[in-house]
Symmetry: C2
């Protein structure tokens, strides 16, 4: 039986031992993994930690403001880095899922490395959890924060890595979050991938396509809060389809809604959602987003699908 | 109230008057519209009619054999034209929905025109119905068999057009079919578009992609026969998505299932299908088609979507 108090106690000791007097940087996305990892380091070494929020232009509606506010409330020194234009620049012309993940990862670590160098920081904190490690080793995807397995030497970017959660599965991370008394918006927060909305814009990632999927994501989250499912989100296809808007033909966009039940993200079931909720979502998405003419629902479990599309 | 017997009687007179002693060609796809139109002309002018089945490589599983057998059983002189390679050649490099429809249409009419010339035939029969005319005029799509509205002069292809059903909506066409004692596989046949599976392969149409959507279509039809819905089919996306097959990552294909209720195809409702049927369909599609990792369900009514994706 996992004991979160014992885990926290051991973790704080190990972090102090590893870090010594050095300074530490932690890129916190606001997800439960990165926030718990950041907060553990904050508890362990206090002022030696600088949290950064990298605004890559790929976050959900209102998320940058929420994360920065939460970190400040927790008493963590926080820096906001606006890197939106730089991230969209690296996605230009890239359509393959792995190429996009790689482009995101490289830009993410070079941005973080630059901040670490400016602040003379030697360590970075990663919210890597067990499922990330397993899937990267199995070759199912290259998780952006499992560097060694994919042949990246973090010292190339100028720092060493601390991964306090790499032995935990998601449910245990939430137990640690609750034990640390993090607010429920964090401890119960729906998983959201590191490369964020870039995985949910099929084909090339552009500001316009990201804005469409951001709006669709907001609608899906609003209409499915009460379901209590593991992950609920929207995906914008690169394919287009015919539809009719204002009585005229429109070769428009396609959105897929994905709602899954899962314990640990290693396997997942497509949720059987009440039809009136799906109807409401598809009506809102096609009415509130002018370019969208079709709304689909993903019926596939993991395996044979993955949770995310990319 | 529509009277099918009266319609048939008037129609036969009009066809005889228009055609005189000339010979007539009719491309019959096996759909209710083109089969009723063909059979009416057969009843009107008998041996002056030559039916042709153009195998464009885009038909459903077993369909070419079924149509040719049915026409022969009805006593109609029938010619089979194998044009599979020619059709796939014109789709090469075409990804836009309207470009694909146009490419299909031109190849279809040049194939038919060539056959008509060889047989010294002056008239062709079209199964155009009222909904085709309305949508073409409204600019929602360019229906492949409404030539004059889209600026095509059929005489350019070397013949004149007869459209016996152009004043009827689909339910009345079925009444005429029943009154003509056509077999129920025809009179109750699910609508299927002229450009066939080419509309259901998003992006470039290739033999391999067509084979995938043909197999998925067969599974959807087998599992939804008992629903009694207006149209049930599968669409192959051009986008790909990640999945897991045999424990390994696969960047694979996406299939959407579309099941709609409609009277006349002018408006339609996405069917609320029992979840166990959708589950069975998605499981079969991802298990029986090796390249497919995801199966989606289209939630959208017409409008704002159309029934077909292209």
């Amino acid at each position: 039986m996992f004991n979160p108090e014992e885990f926290i106690e051991n973790s704080l000791k190990e972090i102090r031992k590893a870090v010594g007097d050095s300074r530490v940087i932690s890129a916190c996305s606001g997800g439960v993994d990165s926030t718990v990892a950041t907060y553990l380091v904050h508890k362990a070494v206090g002022k030696q930690l600088l949290a950064v929020f990298v605004d890559d232009g790929l976050r959900r509606e209102g998320e940058p403001e929420f994360v920065v506010k939460t970190l400040k409330r927790l008493g963590i020194k926080t820096k906001f880095i606006d890197a939106k234009e730089e991230f969209f620049a690296v996605f230009k012309g890239k359509t393959d899922a792995e190429e996009k993940r790689k482009a995101f990862r490289e830009k993410f670590y070079s941005t973080l490395g630059k901040a670490a160098k400016e602040e003379k920081i030697a360590f970075i904190v990663q919210g890597t959890i067990k499922a990330d490690v397993i899937e990267t080793v199995q070759g199912i995807k290259s998780q952006h924060n499992v560097l060694s397995q994919i042949g990246i030497n973090p010292e190339r970017y100028g720092y060493k890595i601390i991964e306090p959660l790499r032995e935990l599965f998601k449910p245990d991370v939430r137990k640690v979050a609750r034990s640390l008394k993090l607010p429920p918006e964090i401890s119960e927060r729906m998983p959201f991938p590191g490369p964020a909305l870039s995985l949910r814009v099929l084909g090339e990632v552009t500001p316009n396509k990201t804005a469409i999927v951001r709006k669709a994501t907001q609608i899906v989250e609003e209409e499915t809060q009460q379901l209590g499912t593991f992950q609920n989100f929207a995906v914008l296809h690169n394919d287009k389809a015919t539809g009719i808007k204002n009585g005229k033909r429109l070769y428009g966009n396609i959105i897929t809604v994905r709602i899954v039940e899962s314990e640990d993200a290693v396997t997942a079931k497509a949720k059987q959602v009440p039809p009136e909720i799906l109807k409401k979502i598809s009506t809102r998405i096609t009415q509130e987003i002018p370019s969208v003419v079709r709304c689909l629902y993903d019926l596939t479990d993991k395996p044979p699908a993955t949770i995310e599309f990319e």
